[in-house]
Symmetry: C2
Subunit: 198 residues, 2 copies
DNA sequence: TCAGTATAGCGAATAGCGGTCGCTTTGCCA
DNA sequence: TGGCAAAGCGACCGCTATTCGCTATACTGA
């Protein structure tokens, strides 16, 4: 980057994005905690202190990454939520892309989603906001299902959280009992059957 | 401790236990990562380097704690598993003590179980062994339920993992929708209904 | 009885971390 | 063309986990 030319806010944002893009692979190999700011700076082709011009702290780098990921997922899920098919079918589809998302970033998420929990409280709140938006989307689908009469009356937010959490062991188990596809289908079967009016 | 007197293996183990006991409260207040070895040593009434005579690394302290916790939980669950009542009722009871366990150590677990994921691979494997033992116990209960005809035929290990993971959001949500008791009961209802032959 | 030895325990030193500071380099603009 | 704001950087700071060499101690065997 040329010196002397002030960056517009947009350019700064783009630069941040580029930096994270270039650095993600290092996180993948070593994990976030184990990657030093010096290494991050090297991977980004920057001096260490220049990095601090774009991210105030190391945590902020992780925060930036997560906001992006959750945002992207929510966006994709929103499109599915708008389709005019039964709510349970939409739920299945959302969970399918959720799973694909997890799988695509598997080792990255495995390492990073856990480290995210150790961020400063304020940063956590910010991630939480994104997470809640996603939870609320799932909740909405469950509420619709209840209204449609497909699901029995359950606490929709609790069910949403439950559903989201059931995906974790599908992807991250060390003792898989089938393909990820199969495991997810059975998981969804159990969950949706648990919601059905019987 | 007097110097010069070699400690038997038992005494060493007891000493480790004592150290962790005295230090847990500090972790509770500050979190593991945020507690320095100097502080841990102080809390244990030891010199910093003496601590290293009992635990090779900082991580090992956390590891020791977790092995104990999972071990205790598994032991308690085993007692329940042996009772002669329907499998689904035993499942409910095991999950109840699991929840109590989580709640009793809530802030500790919230902070520590996540940090545990960042331990050295070898340490993780050791924790994993304990976790698997617990998973297998739950799996056994589900298998019994299937044999008894109370549950439909599902992958018992997958269901076990699913069940264990559904408890997480009950305890650790930032948006509770009722008392922990209530939330857990509804969670179990959904899960068990998902397993029922309908 | 008393040197020899093994070990509990410790303070100081080490390497490397996240983060800061003050300087240099650059290109725009008056 | 000279002044200036901003990009970028290397050296530095205080802290960390961990290691090392030493001391103090009590048991052992001659």
């Amino acid at each position: 980057m040329p010196k002397g030319i002030p960056l517009t806010e947009e350019e700064q944002a783009k630069r941040r994005h580029e930096i994270v893009d270039q650095v993600v692979n290092v996180f993948l190999k070593k994990g976030f905690q184990e990657t030093s700011m010096r290494e991050i700076a090297e991977a980004a082709g920057l001096g260490k202190s220049t990095l601090y011009d774009y991210f105030k702290t190391k945590d902020e780098i992780l925060l930036y990454f997560f906001e992006n990921q959750i945002g992207n997922l929510t966006e994709a899920a929103q499109k599915i939520a708008l389709q005019s098919i039964p709510a349970d079918e939409r739920l299945r589809q959302v969970m399918k892309i959720h799973l694909e998302y997890l799988q695509a970033n598997k080792s990255l998420f495995m390492k990073l989603s856990l480290e995210a929990q150790r961020l400063k409280l304020e940063s956590q709140k910010q991630i939480q906001r994104g997470r809640h938006a996603y939870q609320d989307l799932i909740r909405g689908l469950i509420e619709e299902g209840v209204r449609e009469g497909a699901f029995r009356k359950v606490d929709p937010l609790l069910a949403a959280r439950m559903l989201i959490n059931t995906l974790v062991p599908v992807v991250y188990t060390s003792r898989p009992t089938g393909t990820t596809q199969e495991m997810m289908e059975e998981t969804m079967d159990i969950f949706l059957k648990g919601l059905q009016v019987c």
